[in-house]
Subunit: 744 residues, 2 copies
């Protein structure tokens, strides 16, 4: 029987957050307060369903939007502490109060053909069950939809998820234009009401948008700030076999959602909403899933559930960065033996290709390449191929000398002559090296020096081809002693028409992670879907890109505040392979590239702390590091796995300061990074062991340092400090600092 | 320099066929005569190209339809004799005259941004090269488009191929409605002018159409007959990494092509033709390729070529059946060691599931199944599961006793509880047997009796899932001693939106054949694209379905003339696993199925000869064969590989009589099959060795036999015959006969 009470609420363990659920009129809605202040106004939850020729009659024309009865409400408290395989802290507490609401929806019977004469036809009412599970933490909430196995709904198709996030006002937001295929745009800072007006600018910035869908469509994680100082972050957790979610701001004038017209680059059309769809409040975001090639957004089989929709809330920006909400909402580790998973510092034959000084491809001889028709030993070398034996050995020597664990080599395998955006399925085989890359010799040489090579699999987004070759590719890695792969998904997805963030592609990325785990291989996935904390469940997913990385410093540049935004947005779901460490920021100093990195050397050092990742690259060329060896000392020293982390200062797009305790040691490292306005950082050393002395080395911007005018001006100061001391460090415009504190 | 001569012609070796090519006005056209009679009127050739965001400016808005200059015309004669691994004859002669025309098309230059000041901009004209290669045989012609590697056209996208086949009149035709996903409709016999009017009937017949596209769209191979007694067959050969071709008859009233509206089941809309497209003559077919999920019909990389477009012509219907044109146009065998490929007679646990007496699935317990979440040993059996140890052993015993080589077992592997049309990707794993199917024991039991099991891989059209599992699946087969697999592609393709006959799916089928060959596995592919002679190149492709098979006798039935049409149409491209041999034609005699097979027992025996295949099933239940063991003797005796074949009588949809000499013996087998009108067959035994006696056994319809009223009335007559003798055999309505001639 339906419950009399149609509303329930649950508080966070500390009482600050109160989640209220309401299903009056049969429409599921939730709302949220923080310390008594409204954070999310009553917001609808539900699904518009799609139909196809196989949809049963009673399932037609009936969405999961209304007509629900609350059958059951259950609450529970959960408190555990778990140990990540790698992370910012040695342990993570997972403490929440849960509200689980079981909803039933009656589906009207459909007359199936003429009744048998003489037999009175008794219509049978079908009931469908949907569960909404809320978890309320001290740092925010997560909720998801669950569909138990049920005969009346074994399979269903999602046309659109209509989860609302109704904001209380015209908040400040840091957003990327919603896009089915890229997350590599520059972040725009604006009021919610300005999104539509600044959308064109956002799309055109750096010319990196690919498949936008609405002039008020934005990506998650979306960081906001209210006028009364509340920080709100919307994202998702545990996106598994489900399409990646975007957010679409409801137009407050037309009160309709808009969607881009198919096949047109500039026209948007009102998106027909379900007839029974109540128009949302102003400043309401509605979920917008990534479609597949047919426009479908989900093919579901019960039992199943959606990813968690997450809202992190605090009046302290630092809590946004230390939150473990998204990791906590993921399933525990599914890999039994994790001994082969390890943090990694690496360099690589990469930046000089990005900058344009050497090439991925080996020859310029052919207009196009068919892998099985080329005798590579007879192809004419172009003389610019980066991944050659001599150069790779030079990088191996550099890594060995400086304590770097691995050397990434891109362009080692045949097929780079014409690989992107050609709808070319059989673009790489992932096992055949170019003639000047001796895979056996180079791996043996590396191993003899205590270094490993880091594999590179650019798929050119031909996922069908990658899946056909993946087993042989991983077997090759096992054979030669690689234990990590950087995967890439540049260009349009094959099968054609699919998108980088669709349900099927998210399933593909997971398939790769799982197959890699079987072969004890760590994965660093570039251009894949933005992470949602899956690295808790699959800790061999040690990194990813899924945002605008350092490579864009060679494609026109990133804004100086870029790295003060990413920890609030992209990094919520997991670590990023940002590939920091550019020392020679003016690329024209050593190449024909006129782009330049908008950062100081001290700022570059700071990124090894502010951009948390268990996988950190020293991205610049060995000869550039050799010129500034005293600064490079910090990269040699810095850890990339931690027992503790303390965010000391933070403001989105302005500055971030963090102190981290290196795994298994008593040493601390502190990093601060700021935007184009500079920042004065005051660091209270109250996290140090009392009564102990620390050798402190401060890598700071020189007084006249500046990300454009004087990026290479830094100072290195050494002194002895103790707990309770305070350090003051000035960060230059676009600069930062890095500090090592070695326990004596 | 362009040639002055804009037309060339080439004759067949015997001079009967004359192919003329003409490119006046820059438009490529071909025409064809047979013994001086016009067969194909001047017909255009070319391509409409698609564009996407990556199309270079000079490639836009420029089709490969006109503006061509003839640069070169080359002719040559070719004559070889090759030995098929298996076939209707021991050797095949490949004898043709070839005309190869090189065409160049100038592409207008496009101004790329503003010219550099002070530098005079000199537009560069790009030239694209297309070659058309014609091969003229005594039995017909083949032609294809070839695109050499060229910098101005490394990649291109095909919107539509516009190859015309302009017929000379309102011929009689045997056609299936064009469909992107099925070929299992009943054939319609009508005049060309009647296609539109009878299209709805064709689509609705047996309710088997899935994705039709035009009310004048038909499939190949298309068999026609002219009023003056000429037989014409249009099909294609060597369809590799290219979309399957349909034919669309141009509407003689609207003079436009029509195409079905997306998303609507009943509405057709005029298909916009290129603006420069000259309206074709009446009775002209135009090629219509199968699209992918985005509507695209081809993604091409030069060097490449299309399949051969084939036209078989003769004034003798028997030549349609003995033609090797399509095999000859395929590449020679690419499998080096073919010793493991062998003709196969088999029975199987199959018909009783098709009829509905037992089930593929093991349990009815769950609304739906997720493979990794079920403990099958604890699932409740439904008691109807066909593939159980006891039954399979019974079939193995039957096969061993009767000299059948293999036993097919469907429903052996987990996942059949909900497998079709659910958009379910992970539907089968192809390696996990149900608890009542002991894969090790059953294979050992079979081998101990000299029999093999025949593997079954139903993919449920989830090709992504099949490709992920295919290596393990084939390794399992190798482990247990299977050497043949029946694959299935029931339901909608996953990735969603793709079609069974698209370029990507054709690539998938080939991938499966090639991977199977690596594991020494023969393939019998059901619901795959219709064959185009690939079995010459990959002789491990021993069979296929790709047409309405015997299973439909349990789904409402096939017309009696059905098997007198298939050899003219479906079998042109390769053998069919028609699964003949139904003796208990009234299914209600032994099941709840009210359908019945429209054939006599003698007719069923005839199919082992008239429906050539190296893979032949005895499809009925062992207990039914045991009841008619004297008739079953023919199935025991008949060969399925041949040194010679002679088509003695033939008329499409009326009758077919063929004599075949069993491989490596002096024995002949003769079979005759007729339609619902019966037939009187006169067989001159002039193919027997002179002066030699033959023990002749005639399995014929009894006098009162009839496919509906008296299907099981047959006679068996034995006598001694010699070369020069004549046999007269009467075939009942829907009947036939079979004769064995054993050399003494």
């Amino acid at each position: 029987m339906p419950l009399a009470a149609l509303a329930g609420s649950v508080k966070s363990p500390n009482g600050n957050l109160v989640l209220t659920f309401d299903a009056s009129n049969g429409i599921p809605k939730y709302s949220l307060t923080y310390k008594g202040k409204e954070v999310v106004k009553p917001s609808r939850m539900g699904f518009e369903l799609a139909e196809d020729k196989h949809t049963s009659p009673e399932m037609r024309h009936r969405d999961l939007m209304d007509g629900f009865m609350v059958m059951k409400e259950e609450t529970k408290e959960f408190d555990e502490t778990w140990k990540p395989v790698w992370g910012e802290t040695a342990t993570i507490r997972n403490h929440y109060n849960e509200l689980c609401v079981t909803l039933d929806q009656e589906v009207m019977p459909v007359r199936r053909g003429p009744a048998t004469p003489g037999i009175h036809e008794r219509p049978v009412t079908h009931t469908r069950t949907m569960i909404i599970r809320f978890r309320v933490y001290n740092d925010g909430i997560g909720f998801r939809y669950e569909f138990p196995q049920q005969r009346s709904m074994s399979y269903f198709l999602i046309k659109e998820e209509h989860t609302e996030f109704s904001m209380t006002g015209d908040h400040l937001a840091w957003w990327l234009p919603g896009d089915y295929d890229t997350q590599e745009q520059m972040t725009i800072e604006s009021r919610l009401s300005e999104i539509r007006g600044r959308y064109r600018q956002a799309v055109n910035w750096g010319n990196s948008s690919v498949a936008t869908f609405s002039p008020t469509g934005v990506q998650t994680s979306l960081q906001m700030k209210t006028d009364d100082g509340l920080y709100i972050n919307i994202h998702e957790a545990a996106c598994l076999d489900y399409a990646t979610m975007h957010l679409e701001l409801v137009d407050t004038k037309t009160k309709a959602l808009t969607t881009k017209l198919e096949g047109s680059s500039n026209k948007y059309t009102p998106n027909p909403t379900p007839s029974n769809y109540e128009l949302p409040q102003p400043f309401t975001f509605v979920s917008h899933l990534t479609p597949d090639a047919t426009g479908l957004k989900g093919a579901m089989q019960t039992p199943c559930n959606t990813p968690w929709r997450t809202i992190i809330v605090s009046d302290d920006a630092r809590d946004m960065l230390s939150s473990n909400l998204i990791l906590n909402l993921n399933e525990p580790c599914k890999i039994e033996d994790t001994s082969w998973i390890h943090p990694t510092k690496y360099c690589g034959v990469w930046w000089e290709m990005i900058v344009g000084k050497s090439s991925w491809n080996y020859t310029d001889e052919f207009p196009s390449i068919k892998l099985d028709e080329i005798d590579w030993t007879k192809a004419k070398p172009n003389g610019r191929h980066g991944a050659n034996n001599e150069k790779v050995k030079r990088y191996i020597d550099f890594a060995a000398k400086n304590g770097l664990d691995q050397v990434l080599v891109e362009g080692w395998n045949v097929g780079w002559e014409d690989w992107a955006n050609m709808w070319k399925r059989d673009v790489f085989d992932f096992v055949t090296p170019y003639p000047d890359f001796d895979i056996k010799m180079l791996n043996e040489y590396a191993h003899s020096k205590g270094v490993k090579l880091l594999m590179h699999h650019e798929t050119s987004s031909s996922t069908q081809n990658y899946e056909r070759h993946i087993k042989e590719a991983f077997e090759l890695m096992n054979k030669y002693g690689y234990d990590a792969v950087k995967t890439g998904y540049v260009g349009d997805i094959i099968p054609r028409g699919d998108h980088h963030y669709s349900q099927s592609m998210n399933n593909h990325y997971l398939y790769v992670i799982q197959e890699a785990a079987k072969h004890h291989i760590m994965v660093n996935s570039h251009e894949a879907t933005r992470p949602t904390g899956l690295c808790r469940t699959y800790p061999n997913l040690v990194g990813g890109e899924s945002a605008r990385g350092t490579e864009y410093e060679a494609f026109g540049g990133n804004r100086p505040d870029h790295t003060c935004i990413l920890p609030f947005t992209r990094l919520q779901g997991g670590p990023m392979d940002y590939t920091p460490g550019i020392f020679e920021t003016k690329l024209s100093n050593w190449s024909n590239n006129t782009s330049w990195a908008r950062i100081t050397i001290a700022g570059s050092l700071a990124l090894y702390l502010t951009m948390y990742s268990p996988l950190q690259m020293a991205a610049d060329l060995p000869e550039h590091y050799e010129k500034y060896d005293d600064a490079f000392q910090f990269i040699r020293d810095v850890a990339c796995d931690w027992d503790d982390s303390r965010y000391l200062e933070a403001e989105p797009a302005d500055y971030i300061t963090v102190a981290r305790k290196a795994k298994g040691t008593d040493n601390w490292f502190v990093g601060g990074k700021c935007d184009e306005n500079g920042h004065e950082s005051t660091i209270k050393l109250d996290f140090l062991d009392k009564g102990r002395k620390y050798q402190c080395t401060i890598y700071a911007d020189a007084k006249d340092a500046h990300y454009e005018k004087n990026p290479k001006a830094y100072t290195i100061t050494k002194k002895v400090v103790k707990a309770g001391d305070t350090l003051k460090v000035k960060e230059a415009p676009g600069g930062g600092f890095a500090i090592s504190l070695i326990a004596q």
